[in-house]
């Protein structure tokens, strides 16, 4: 069971657009909602109304600041704020699956989704140790490991209207920053997005071969770096040296002790 399949027929996964994500956390909430009410044990909250609320989430949104290097122009390029949703990447070489002692963790041959069979899980937490991305969390109430299921109970669910047969996070994203599809099919819209925009792996050096890809933010407009606005020339000072009364005042103040700077 915990032996990884040599190949999967499809590679269902997410493509997350870091250029478009606005960091609203709607995907976090819809994920929590759907996965609390549906497949598997609910995602528990501890001390939800007390001083130290915490709980289980399958998807969390970080925010990072990127400061581009000063390219010798003297003025540093503006820093960029990048919102960064992170959930299970459904790796081809998933280290969380092979370490599982009970066979509760597995990667599906038919679509590559990494799942936990909660009735076999002993909650030893070794899979969470093995995952470099922090994609697995132990539910403190249920005592079993929870992770993103890629909404396996939505994407094949014929009781739902066809438009809803995508993961809850993708369906809810108001910015259209999340895309769901088959990354093994080079003609799928997700594969094409990855090819066009240079989709990237997280921590490639860990050798996990993630299926999910991240689209890097597009470069900032040149106008932002060099010129503030096309109307800026109209706002240039009309006189470099003060004249008249202000000119006299300037000279008089300079003449006072300590006046000339």
């Amino acid at each position: 069971m915990t032996q990884l399949p040599t190949a999967t027929q499809r590679k269902l996964g997410l493509v997350i657009d870091l250029d478009t994500c606005v960091g609203c956390h709607a995907c976090v909430i819809s994920c929590k909602g759907w996965n609390t009410e549906n497949y598997g044990a609910p995602l528990s909250d501890l001390d939800p109304y007390g001083p130290n609320p915490h709980g289980t989430f399958l998807n969390r949104v970080h925010s990072y600041e990127v400061q581009p290097p000063d390219l010798g122009t003297g003025t540093p390029a503006p820093a960029q704020l990048i919102h960064f949703p992170k959930s299970c990447l459904h790796c081809d070489d998933a280290p969380c699956v092979t370490v599982c002692p009970t066979g509760a963790s597995y990667k599906r041959v038919e679509d590559g989704i990494v799942l936990v069979n909660e009735s076999d899980c002993i909650g030893c937490g070794l899979c969470a140790w093995a995952c470099p991305y922090g994609a697995r969390e132990k539910d403190e109430v249920e005592g079993v490991m929870k992770k993103c299921t890629l909404c396996v109970d939505r994407i094949y669910n014929e009781n739902l209207p066809e438009v809803d047969r995508t993961p809850a996070c993708v369906r809810t994203c108001p910015a259209g920053a999340r895309h769901f599809g088959d990354l093994a099919d080079p003609d799928s819209h997700v594969s094409q997005l990855v090819a066009e925009r240079g989709g990237m792996d997280l921590m490639p050096e860990m050798g996990t071969k993630p299926v999910n890809k991240y689209l890097p933010p597009r470069p900032r407009d040149a106008s932002q770096r060099e010129e503030i606005d096309i109307l800026a020339p109209f706002l240039e000072p009309v006189a470099e040296e003060p004249k008249g009364f202000l000119g006299w005042l300037d000279r008089a103040l300079d003449a006072l002790p300590g006046g000339k700077s």
């Binding site: 969390r60 600041e65 909650g123 093995a130 890097p216």
Partner: protein, 302 residues
């Protein structure tokens, strides 16, 4: 990594217990009757006590038997299988010595190999975790094996072997610290590679995903006590190696041997606490940890 008491107790006691079983299996010493009973009882209390302690951190301990099934890929499962096999074989071998005053040598050798194998599988659980660079190198199994054998020799009363193995164990522990201190940087994982944004400039954690804590932070981003690491390393080394070796060299009597064993046990427990507390998991990067270390690295140019 969070230094869970259950796991520290397990690896300290079981390491010592299985180390003693290795020496009993090899016939050094080969007592019979009541003396054999005391030796085996001690080994089993340590080994089994440790194994029981290790189930305390499970979320669902009632399903622990399922952990014997996935030995093909999981070192944790292999450890379970190997430890039960070692305990069963050594129980038969021990019964021969205790009740029949007969040493079934082949059974002892098999039991010794399985006991050593159990310590090796334990060490490989940690070694195989690539996301914790400090553990993910050969010094981890070498350190676990030599320290287990050193403790076993100490308990088995093999003075010469104990002195040699204690020195080797000290060297292995030192190597684990030296290699481990460089391991995270050598692994090359930074917030830049974790986010894929490193080529664009210096990446800094601006805002965490939530104001409270979570399982990941509690389990993997343990930073308490690291500032005392150097002092604790010295204390661990003195208790674990220096004091027992001095006692064995200067006053090898039963009473002092007991002091040496207790000192060794306390030292190993301290070193094992550090083994967890000092280990950094790469997931901490996403939460802005190791910023001080990364600040000293040159920023990649695009």
């Amino acid at each position: 990594m969070h230094p869970a008491p259950s796991v520290i107790i397990f690896s300290t006691l079981s390491g010592l217990g299985f180390g003693l079983l290795v020496f009993l299996g090899l016939g050094w010493p080969a007592p019979t009757g009541w003396v054999a009973f005391v030796f085996f009882a001690l080994a089993y209390i340590l080994a089994v006590g440790g194994l029981i302690a290790s189930t305390f951190h499970l979320g669902r301990p009632e399903r622990a038997l399922k952990a014997f099934t996935q030995w093909r890929t999981s070192w944790l499962s292999r450890e379970g299988v190997c430890s039960v096999a070692a305990l069963l074989v050594m129980a038969i071998y021990g019964a021969g010595l205790v009740f029949f005053s007969d040493r079934w040598a082949v059974l002892g050798w098999i039991g010794a190999a399985l006991s050593l194998g159990t310590v090796y599988t334990t060490s490989m659980i940690y070694t195989s975790i690539r996301a914790v660079p400090r553990w993910n190198n050969i010094t981890t199994p070498v350190m676990f094996l030599t320290l287990s054998l050193a403790g076993g020799a100490l308990l088995a009363g093999q003075v010469t072997a104990a002195i040699v193995l204690l020195v080797l164990g000290g060297l292995a522990q030192g190597a684990h610290w030296l290699v481990g201190d460089q391991a995270f940087t050598k692994a090359g994982t930074t917030l830049g590679t974790a986010t894929g944004l490193g080529a664009r400039g210096a990446v800094r954690s601006f805002e965490p995903p939530h104001t409270g804590t979570n399982y990941l932070l509690k389990e993997f981003v343990y930073v308490l006590g690291r500032k005392h690491a150097l002092k604790l390393r010295v204390i661990a080394m003195i208790l674990m190696i220096v004091l027992p070796v001095l006692i064995l060299l200067l006053a090898p009597s039963h009473l002092f041997a007991a002091v040496a064993v207790l000192s060794h046990l306390a030292g190993v427990a301290t070193a094992r606490w550090l083994f967890f507390a000092e280990a950094e998991h790469v997931v901490g990067l996403y939460y802005g940890h190791r910023r001080d270390v990364e600040a000293r690295q040159p920023v990649q140019q695009p």
